[in-house]
C-alpha cells in the first residue's frame, strides 16, 4: 500500500510538471486572447475532474444505500470533499479568465453555471455531514447525493434552454480546438486526475485512521465496566 502511494506521488509530480510545462510552452498562443488563455488548461481539466469525483460520490452513495458498506461511505465523503475543492478552482479560474478577455467577471454559461450549482449542492452535502446529529449521517448524506444526481440533468437542461433563448459569451470557447491545444488539454487532464487520486487516497487513509480511533474508543467504553 505504502509503496503504491509513493509511486503515485512521484508519478503525479512528474505528470503535473510536464503538464505545466506543456501548458506554458508547448501549447500555441491563442490568436485573440493571448497568453491569458492558458488558464484554460487549468479551468477545463479541473471541471472534468470535479464532475468525475461527483459521479463517483453518486455511485458510492447508491452502493451505501443498498449495502450500507462503510467503505462506500468513506469513498463518497472523500470524493465530495476533493470534488468541492476542484470545483472551487473552476469557479475561481473562470472569472480570472473572463475579466481580461471579455471584461466581465461572470457569465451564466453552461459549464460555469452547472459547476456553480454542483458546488452548491456538494457544499450543502458537506454541511449536512457536519451538522447532522444523527447516528446515521452517512444514510442522510447518501440520500442527499442521490437527490443531487437527479437534479443535475435538470440543471443542465434548464440552463441549456435558457441559453438558447438568451445567448451570451461562453467561457472556455465554444468553437473547434487546435489539435496541439487538445493534446495539452489531455496532458493536463491526466495530470489532474493523478493529483485528485493522490489527494483522495490521502484523505481516505486519514478517514480510515479517524474511524479506527472512534471504534477503539467505543469499544473501550463498552468494556469499561467489565473490569470491575
Amino acid at each position: 500500500m505504502k509503496r503504491g502511494f509513493t509511486i503515485l506521488a512521484v508519478l503525479t509530480a512528474i505528470l503535473l510538471s510536464f503538464a505545466f510545462y506543456a501548458a506554458l510552452l508547448i501549447a500555441p498562443t491563442e490568436q485573440t486572447m493571448g497568453n491569458v488563455q492558458r488558464i484554460f488548461y487549468y479551468h477545463v481539466p479541473s471541471a472534468w475532474v470535479a464532475f468525475e469525483l461527483f459521479l463517483i460520490n453518486f455511485v458510492a452513495s447508491v452502493i451505501y444505500l443498498i449495502r450500507r458498506s462503510a467503505k462506500a461511505d468513506m469513498i463518497a465523503l472523500v470524493c465530495a470533499e476533493v470534488g468541492v475543492v476542484f470545483c472551487t478552482v473552476v469557479l475561481i479560474t473562470g472569472p480570472i479568465w473572463a475579466r481580461p478577455v471579455w471584461g466581465i467577471w461572470w457569465t451564466w454559461d453552461l459549464r460555469l453555471t452547472l459547476t456553480l450549482v454542483l458546488w452548491l449542492i456538494y457544499v450543502s452535502y458537506l454541511v449536512l455531514r457536519r451538522f447532522s446529529m444523527s447516528s446515521q449521517t452517512p444514510l442522510l448524506a447518501a440520500v442527499l447525493a442521490v437527490f443531487g444526481a437527479l437534479d443535475v440533468p435538470m440543471v443542465y437542461f434548464s440552463i441549456w434552454f435558457f441559453r438558447t433563448q438568451h445567448p451570451s459569451p461562453v467561457i472556455g470557447g465554444g468553437g473547434s480546438l487546435d489539435p496541439r491545444m487538445g493534446r495539452v488539454l489531455l496532458y493536463n487532464w491526466i495530470a489532474f486526475m493523478a493529483l485528485a487520486w493522490l489527494i483522495c487516497w490521502t484523505r481516505y487513509r486519514l478517514e480510515v485512521a479517524e474511524r479506527a480511533v472512534h471504534e477503539a474508543e467505543a469499544m473501550q467504553s463498552l468494556k469499561e465496566e467489565e473490569a470491575r
Binding site: 444505500l65 450549482v117 452548491l120 449542492i121 450543502s124 454541511v127 449536512l128 451538522f131 447532522s132 446529529m133 444523527s134 447516528s135 446515521q136 444514510l139 442522510l140 440520500v143 442527499l144 442521490v146 437527490f147 443531487g148 437527479l150 437534479d151 435538470m154 440543471v155 437542461f157 434548464s158 440552463i159 434552454f161 435558457f162 433563448q165
Partner: protein, 224 residues
C-alpha cells in the same frame, strides 16, 4: 390498513389542527403581505418592465413564504414526540409524507393567493400571453418547492440549526425548478415566447422528485 385512508386521515388531522391554532396562519399571511410590499418598494418598474421581472420577483417572494411554512411542517409531531407514536405504529411512512406535502401545498397556495392580487395591483400586471396558464404553472411550481421542502424538513429534524438547514439543503436542488417557474411566468406575462418547454421541465422535475421523496422518505424517517 389503507394507504389512502391514512393519507386522508393525516391530512384531515393537520387541517383541523391548523384551523384551531389560527394564529400561525394569520402570522404567515401577514408576513407574505409584508414581503410583497417590501419588494414593491425595492423594485418600482414601469408596467412594461414589470412584465419582464415580475416572474422572478413573485417566485422569490413565494419562496420566502414557502420556507416559513415548510419550517413548521413537523413542529407538531416533534412536540410531545408524537412522531414516535407514528413510528411505533404499523402505518407506512409514505402516506405520512404525502399528507404533509399536500398539506404544505394547500398552505403555501393560500399564501400565494394572498400575494398574487397584491403583486398584480402594485406592478400593474396584465398578462400578454395566455393568463390561465399561470394557474397550473403555480401548482406545478409550488409542488416542486413543497415536495422537496417537506422531505428536507424531515431530514433537518436530525441536524443542528434546523431552521437554516432546510433552506440550505433545499435551495441548490430547487434551482432548475426555479429557473423553470420564473421563465415560464415571464413567457406568459410578456407573451413573447412559449412557456411549453419550461412547463415540461417542471412536470419532469415534479415527477422525478416526488418519486424520489416517496421512495426515500421511510429511510429518512427511521434514521435516528
Amino acid at each position: 390498513m389503507n394507504f389512502l385512508a391514512i393519507t386522508r386521515a393525516t391530512l384531515a388531522k393537520d387541517m383541523r389542527l391548523e384551523w384551531r391554532s389560527k394564529d400561525a396562519i394569520n402570522a404567515m399571511l401577514f408576513f407574505s403581505l409584508l414581503v410583497v410590499v417590501i419588494f414593491s418598494f425595492a423594485f418600482d418598474p414601469t408596467a412594461e418592465e414589470s412584465r419582464r421581472i415580475a416572474g422572478g420577483l413573485i417566485w422569490v417572494a413565494f419562496l420566502f413564504a414557502a420556507i416559513v411554512a415548510l419550517n413548521q411542517t413537523w413542529a407538531r409531531e416533534m412536540k410531545n414526540q408524537v412522531l414516535d407514536a407514528y413510528r411505533v405504529s404499523p402505518a407506512p411512512a409514505t402516506p405520512l409524507f404525502l399528507a404533509k406535502a399536500i398539506g404544505n401545498l394547500i398552505f403555501v397556495a393560500a399564501l400565494e393567493a394572498v400575494m398574487t392580487p397584491l403583486f398584480i395591483a402594485f406592478y400593474r400586471l396584465r398578462p400578454l400571453g395566455a393568463g390561465w396558464q399561470l394557474i397550473p404553472l403555480a401548482i406545478l411550481g409550488t409542488w416542486a418547492l413543497v415536495v422537496n421542502g417537506t422531505f428536507f424538513a424531515a431530514v433537518s429534524l436530525r441536524t443542528r440549526a434546523r431552521e437554516i438547514m432546510l433552506p440550505l439543503l433545499l435551495f441548490p436542488l430547487s434551482i432548475p425548478a426555479l429557473v423553470g417557474m420564473v421563465n415560464a411566468t415571464t413567457a406568459i406575462l410578456t407573451g413573447e415566447t412559449s412557456p411549453a418547454l419550461w412547463i415540461a421541465l417542471l412536470v419532469a422535475y415534479d415527477v422525478v422528485f416526488t418519486t424520489a421523496c416517496l421512495l426515500l422518505f421511510e429511510t429518512v424517517l427511521e434514521a435516528e
